[in-house]
């Protein structure tokens, strides 16, 4: 189904006190004329009569598809399913998750449930961050195998609303931005105070649309050399040439099967040998959504750009593997 007919869904995440509820109320009260439905997992003080507000408790379901990290949100499946059966049409749906929620099952729900995928589209994951306090959360030492939720929410984000910049000095704000970039190199960071955000920057941005992946091209790869000592990082690779499709499928398939649990988000714009169009994909953990994009222009250098955001990524190994997929890597691969 075409993108335009599906109702956009924004996932709003962030710690209690980050200004998430303030932002949510701002979205609901601003005169945009949109009919909005809100699903909240955190009981905030939403006092809006116009919007339909549904409270939900997080229910995480494993899927039996041989994919160890593939979980979906059962609460969202049933609530979104019921919303879609109503006669009134919503222009936008907001899902507010708690600061402790894992964004992956939320995003994966939109890949895994056909009924939802046919009628709704995940627009963007928006993470609200408290500029004055987020460093403390990012630095928090967690026991082994326990996620640092603040890091995870930044890693998954398409937009970071860096709130309360008025309550932090410039050095702190700079440090926070640099730390966010270390985790998620290409995320758009929107500094703000009192959650005053131009809604056009966070709503209906199509962060999961393959054609927007292309349009956001310039921001796609901002390589970060000065990385902090953080286990969650971005690795961007830009490789001239054309890829052998079979080898690419094998490499990417293997990679996601074995490392998918550690790869939170991935995006790519690729040149496949013998294919006149660009191949665009984006993924969450092991789930990939890909399609052909625009035609490579005449004289345009064919190149392959790829970005992974994840835990313990080995840049050298990824570069080696990706380079091995080049069509002219030939028998050496």
């Amino acid at each position: 189904m075409s993108t335009s007919q599906r109702v956009p869904v924004t996932v709003l995440t962030g710690f209690l006190g980050s200004g998430k509820t303030t932002l949510l109320n701002r979205i609901l009260t601003e005169r945009h004329g949109m009919r909005i439905a809100v699903i909240e997992n955190e009981f905030g003080e939403i006092g809006i009569d116009d919007a339909l507000v549904v409270d939900a408790e997080e229910e995480i379901f494993e899927m039996n598809n041989g994919c160890i990290c593939c979980t979906v949100r059962g609460d969202l499946i049933r609530i979104l399913g019921a919303l879609m059966r109503r006669r009134e049409k919503f222009d936008h749906i907001l899902i507010e998750t708690t600061g402790l929620a894992d964004p992956a099952p939320v995003a994966q729900t939109f890949f895994m449930d056909d009924e939802i995928a046919a009628q709704l589209r995940l627009d963007a994951i928006v993470t609200v961050v408290d500029a004055a306090h987020v460093l403390r959360h990012l630095d928090e030492e967690k026991p082994e195998h326990v996620e640092n939720e603040a890091v995870e929410q930044i890693a998954f984000a398409d937009r970071v609303v860096l709130n309360k910049t008025d309550l932090a000095d410039q050095a702190t704000v700079d440090e926070v931005i640099s730390r966010i970039r270390a985790v998620n190199a290409s995320v758009e960071i929107i500094p703000t105070r009192h959650a005053e955000v131009d809604l056009a920057r966070i709503m209906d941005v199509g962060a999961f649309d393959l054609d927007r992946v292309l349009r956001d091209d310039p921001a796609f790869l901002t390589d970060t050399e000065h990385q902090h000592d953080t286990t969650v990082t971005s690795v961007g690779i830009d490789l001239p040439g054309e890829l052998d499709e079979d080898r690419l499928n094998r490499w990417l398939g293997d990679l996601l099967r074995t490392r998918g649990a550690d790869i939170f988000r991935s995006k790519g714009i690729l040149a496949l040998a013998g294919e006149p169009r660009q191949y665009v994909f984006q993924g969450v953990h092991m789930l990939l959504d890909g399609d052909f994009g625009r035609v490579w222009q005449e004289g345009e250098a064919r190149r392959n750009r790829l970005v992974f955001i994840g835990r313990g990524l080995d840049r050298d190994a990824l570069e080696r593997g990706f380079t091995g997929c080049l069509a002219d890597a030939g028998v050496a691969a």
Binding site: V54, D55, E59, F61, E62, M63, N64, N65, V72, G74, D75, I77, R78, I79, A82, R85, R86, R87, E88, D113, D114, E115, A118
Partner: protein, 338 residues
């Protein structure tokens, strides 16, 4: 091959002011549940609305008692019971998700309430309740003439009886069970799963079988009156499995091709193996669903076109099929022998 016949005029047509989500027919009443919370009661002979009642927060299901003297309504924010005599309504705004109501007999109804299933009397008083399930309950079904209640939720189908909150039988399968079907014979428990499969247990010994490979989640399952045939969605085609003898293990289903997306399934009352299905394009299709050989690809014996997606189907009698469409139209089709 599809047989085109001049479409007979419907017995009646009615319209409700909402998108229907469920219909249920008992005796002289058709209950139509609207997504936003109103239940309309229609006279089965004329389609005239005789009553309307409301559950705040919307509706997901509605069920009339076998004698049509009481009605249970279920919705995202609670449930309600209504008595025909005097028109009394008891509304329970529990804040708990309730997607299903099922009567055991004239006196007892099971209603989903969050992670629990509640067994209520006809006035809504709690008689007994199984312990909470692992997730919000998705479906319930009565077994053993209303003495045993099967409850589906994440990870298992659990069977409960009155004497203890703990299950008397647990059928585990890691996955989100969306719909339950139990044949009148009680020989099988079948669940439609989010992982695009049907999971089947033989009740006698708990032996299991999984029918996987559906392209989509299986959220509608129905046994015919004989308990021999199971119809399921989960694909553009409806699949019909033969549960006779040792069951469907190692067999192939018949596939019924008429819809892009299946939105409703209802077996015609009786042993003939006739099925009605509805699609999101508004088509109602009628099938000799058990004809041909296993693995046969069947075409509808008859179709009715509708302007809006079919929301629900229910047979009022062997020759009267009620179809509710998303635009609020409720049509009673006369269905001859196929």
């Amino acid at each position: 091959m599809s047989v085109t016949t001049p479409s007979a005029a419907p017995a009646w047509e009615a319209a409700v002011d909402d998108a229907p989500v469920a219909i249920h027919v008992r005796r002289d009443l058709v209950a139509v549940a609207g997504a936003e919370g109103t239940v309309w009661l229609l006279d089965v002979a004329s389609g005239a609305v005789t009553e309307a009642l409301t559950l705040p927060g919307g509706l997901l299901d509605v069920a009339l008692a076998p004698d049509a003297r009481h009605l249970a309504a279920a919705g995202p924010l609670g449930h309600a019971l209504w008595a025909r005599d005097g028109g009394r309504a008891s509304v329970f705004e529990t804040g708990s998700w309730s997607s299903k109501a099922a009567w055991a007999n004239m006196e007892r109804v099971a209603v989903v309430s969050g992670r629990r299933a509640l067994v209520l009397d006809a006035e809504g008083r709690e008689l007994w309740a199984p312990e909470p399930a692992a997730s919000t309950v998705t479906d319930v079904a009565w077994m053993r003439a209303g003495r045993r209640l099967a409850v589906a939720a994440y990870g298992a189908v659990r069977c409960h009886e009155r004497h203890t909150p703990a299950p008397v039988a647990t059928y585990r399968y890691v996955g989100s069970h969306l719909a339950l079907a139990v044949p009148a014979t009680g020989r099988w428990i079948c669940s439609g799963n989010q992982d695009a499969s049907i999971h089947i247990w033989r009740t006698r010994d708990g032996s299991e079988l999984t029918m996987s490979g559906y392209p989509e989640k299986v959220s509608r399952l129905a046994f015919d009156d004989t308990g021999t045939w199971l119809a399921a969605d989960g694909a553009p085609d409806v699949t019909v499995w033969d549960f006779s003898g040792k069951g469907p293990a190692g067999t192939a289903p018949r596939t019924l091709t008429a819809h892009e997306t299946v939105t409703a399934l209802a077996w015609r009352p009786g042993p003939a193996g006739h099925l009605a299905s509805g699609g999101d394009d508004g088509t109602v299709a009628l099938w000799r669903a058990t004809s041909g050989r296993p693995q046969a690809r069947l075409r509808p014996a008859r179709t009715f076109a509708g302007a809006a997606a079919v929301a629900a189907l229910a047979w009022a009698a062997p020759h009267l099929l009620i179809a509710a469409h998303r635009d609020g139209r409720v049509v009673a089709h006369r269905v001859p022998d196929l």
